[in-house]
Amino acid sequence: MKILTEHIDVPNIETIDVFMKHGGYQAVTKALKNMSPDEVTEEVKKSGLRGRGGAGFPVGMKWSFLAKPEGVPRYLVCNADESEPGTFKDHYLMAKSPHTLIEGMIVSSFALGANTSYIYVRGELMYVIHILEKAIQEAYDKGFLGKNILGSGYDLDLYVQPGGGAYICGEETALLESLEGKRGNPRNKPPFPAVKGLWQCPTVVNNVESISATSWIVNNGGDAYAAIGEGRSTGTKLISVSGHVKKPGVYEIPLGITVEDFIFSEEWCGGIRDGHKLKAVIAGGSSVPILPAELILTTANGEKRRMTYESLSDGGFATGTMLGSGGFIVMDETTCIVHNTLTFASFYHHESCGQCSPCREGTGWMDKVLHRIESGEGRKEDVDLLVDVAKKIEGNTICPLGDAASWPVAAAIRHFRDEFEWHIEHPELATKPGAVYMRPGASWSN
């Protein structure tokens, strides 16, 4: 079942004529001519669509929190600042089929009563910005954007704003600051963007994938969307797979398939590359906890783990992880977890905005300590030190970047402590190029 990527391989789908030939912009016609904004919101609520940016907050509920004071403009902002290591689904979708997002933007803006909407794209994706701007111009020319769209009396202007290339601007309030032309520092919350967002006006910030899904929901009804998936994880999800699988790439999966199927079946990733074994998986982008092979395939109580929000987080952080933004990173037994953790720690060190002290100083500290361990200068107490530093960052920062920085470190030590200790106790072995610790008796070592 494909919703977002159904026609993605059709030649020239990025042009509006081809896109409309394949059913494009029907949702705009349907919503603006036959439905009220509240009816659209109601359908989205019924669909059970959850935010695809990482947190998984129900989209319909987010929309219903939007304050609607008289005489104050409201804004819809699309978060296309996808910068999480391992996640590249929005990039793929926008580059291949920009009109899917634009159609979703029109429908969602109509539901929220926003007359100006923005797509905030990370600065590195300049070619995607050109694609989007061309597509927006086409939509203006066809009368899907601008004044009095399709004679419905509804006006909408859509702008694309390039970011400066900072990871932190993917955090919604930092994104709004950046959109206002300021330094991208996250704001203190409350007030939340639904009350005081862009230019202190009520604002909804949604991920590219969430917004893109709304047009299908308008066309086919919320119930049809809710029929796909499992439990509270409805619909389909784009998963961007990287790492040691045979077929890395972006896949649209119905939520609810098993992780084992996803990694090993020919339909999806096609299994681990020849001659190697699965060691660990990061299921939802670099910030979610890493899980070793046995825990990613089955939960702690022996059930098969499935690709849903609930199943992946089964067991909490002790034995579970999160679906996150769908950046699925697969590692085989040649991967050194210490090195991998250092890479992530360096990333968060580089990307911390520096506003609040635990994150600013803590990310740098963890990076330096991990760098020492990796280069064979670790001390015995360093492992516990890392756990403690991660604990002191987590939950004590303004925005979730602090959590995102501390979770991968804490989880790597939780599940691969022996590997860190091996680095510290045997620096002469660990610093050899390509040296990887093999845990005796583990499923990936032999």
């Binding site: 911390s352 905005c353 002290s357 635990p358 600013r360 100083e361 803590g362 500290w365 303004i398």
Partner: protein, 342 residues
């Protein structure tokens, strides 16, 4: 609205923050603040020194808040119960914040101009641990000048953003700000521009550490060797209410007056601060009120003087009969007197 902080209940108005309510009760329950500065709008929330535990959100919804919340920007609800100094988690977290703030901050208080009136020094003394767990090298920056009056030492900066807000809200144009990200973020001017306007000197007063210092005062004296005196003048730019810092008969520094939380309530102009350094420029009001615990009060105004009543009382209580050696000395023994006098 009723709010309970560390088991003390107080009545406050709606819209009060936990910090303001706690300060109303007193310094024993007031959380420390490194970035929050009440006179500056939208300051706070950054240093995380004031994180407190809310064990009951409000009367209506008495669930505890899942995370620690910053007291300086969290508004109280009716019936809210807050734990500050009595909560183990808060104390542990605060230790962590001290550790984070000192991670890249040089521990050279003996040569730092701010020592004695440094908020970070007080904060780490009260809430930190005596040992360090880091072996990493500290990030260092070059010392720079911010205009003709202010010296900037970025190594000591804890990025509280107070000077940024001061420049935004007090002066007529901000030309400096925070550049770069993370622990390599630094306070800097826009393309080496000089900070030069009539109220720029207040950035020195709001700086909690020794990052921004007064070039006319730097290294002239330790703060505890100078005597603070309240004074005023009729100034057409500012209120003219200041503190003069005397060393001997010489005014070595002029600063704004601060309340008991170390916050300037009246900002002063650069003319008062940098140019009026003669006693004849001022009308003296009397000695400034300085906390007894502060090192600045050492040896001044009787703060550390032993009261005369005390030694007398002490001597009276500890009186012991002592043997008088002279009774046995040969001088007092008649037989030992020289024979000639007999």
């Amino acid at each position: 609205m009723k709010v309970t902080i560390d088991n003390i209940t107080i009545e406050v108005e709606a819209g009060t923050t936990i910090m303001q309510a706690a300060r109303k009760i007193g310094p024993e329950v007031a959380p420390p603040a490194m970035c929050y500065y009440e006179p500056l709008k939208s300051s706070g929330g950054k240093c995380r020194a004031c994180l407190v535990k809310v064990t009951a959100g409000s009367e209506k919804d008495p669930r505890p808040m899942p995370k620690l919340v910053p007291a300086c920007i969290t508004q109280v609800q009716d019936g809210m119960i807050v734990e500050n100094a009595i909560n183990e988690q808060v104390i542990e977290t605060r230790k962590g914040v001290v550790e984070f703030l000192l991670l890249n901050h040089p521990l050279d208080c003996p040569v730092c101009d701010q020592a004695g009136e440094c908020h970070l020094q007080d904060f780490s003394f009260e809430h930190g641990v005596a040992s360090t767990r880091t072996v990493e090298e500290r990030n260092t920056f070059e010392e720079t000048d911010l205009g003709p009056h202010i010296k900037l030492n970025k190594n000591r900066c804890i990025l509280c953003y107070r000077c940024v807000y001061t420049a935004d809200q007090i002066t007529d144009g901000r030309v400096h700000g925070v550049m770069h990200r993370g622990d390599h973020a630094e306070i800097s001017t826009y393309i080496e521009q000089a900070v030069d306007n009539d109220f720029s000197g207040n950035m020195i007063d709001v700086c909690p550490v020794g990052a921004l210092t007064d070039k006319t005062y730097r290294f002239k004296s330790r703060v505890w060797f100078s005597k603070p005196v309240d004074a005023h003048c009729s100034c057409d730019k500012c209120s003219g209410n200041v503190i003069l810092w005397y060393r001997g008969d010489e005014v070595i520094r002029v600063t704004s007056r601060k309340n008991e939380w170390g916050e300037s309530l009246e900002f002063i102009c650069n003319t008062c601060r940098f140019d009026r350094k003669k006693t004849s420029d001022w009308t003296i009001e009397g000695p400034s009120k300085i906390s007894r615990n502060s090192v600045i009060s050492a040896n001044k105004y009787g703060a550390n003087l032993i009261r005369p009543a005390f030694p007398i009382q002490h001597a009276a209580q500890n009186f012991k009969q002592i043997e008088d050696d002279r009774d046995r000395s040969f001088l007092n023994i008649p037989t030992s007197l020289p024979a000639a006098e007999k």
